[in-house]
Symmetry: C2
Subunit: 120 residues, 2 copies
């Protein structure tokens, strides 16, 4: 099973640093392409390409205004990532002592037993 396409998997879309920067930038307001390209120090075609990926995956949408295209962030699409990673939040939030670890070992070595604890 290879990696899902950047245009269909949010995790993969966001695995590109430039695209993360675009998301950061757009979170402060809609912007036209040249604006984005200038701010991020990339050439316009690359900006357009990244924006195209983000649009296809649903992380941004576009609004035309004159000859410009204002890109707009759709942050709800980040929620799957947030949900997934939040399942592990307690592991670094709670005091996570050796007893917890020991109990987890036991559970792992005993496939039949115990209440389901961790995230899936």
């Amino acid at each position: 099973m290879p990696r899902l396409a950047t245009t269909s998997d949010v995790f993969n879309a966001v695995a590109e640093p430039q695209r993360r920067r675009i998301i950061s930038l757009l979170s402060r307001g809609d912007r036209p392409v040249n604006d984005i390209a200038r701010k991020l120090r990339v050439r316009q075609p690359q900006a357009s390409k990244h924006l195209n990926v983000l649009r296809q995956v649903g992380l941004v949408d576009v609004r035309r205004q004159g000859r410009q295209r204002f890109y707009h962030l759709r942050p709800q699409r980040l929620k799957p990532i947030h949900d997934w990673v939040s399942r592990y939040e307690r592991f670094w939030t709670e005091s996570f002592d050796r007893l917890d670890v020991y109990l987890k070992q036991l559970q792992a070595n005993n496939p039949t037993g115990g209440p389901g604890q961790g995230p899936m």
Copy 2:
């Protein structure tokens, strides 16, 4: 700026579905390689390769026990992802009405002005 290596960027390491499944599995307890491979229905070498990536990026570590190697999740390494994506949480948590959007437009069109609001 190309994509960072899966072995050095947690975002990229986690962009692979199989590796996310390994993380899920390990969150319920340490496991040896064959166990993981069997559970995830992948061949042992692929499991080892993914585990190697996860180990290099710091998401798991290994403990030898006899001829087996028990892999152990290091969930703290997921924190960077959690931190990053949490910056946008309020956008889908708060009621985010059209006024907010309008204010963001204004701010974007007026680079000099206004208090910094959004995440960076």
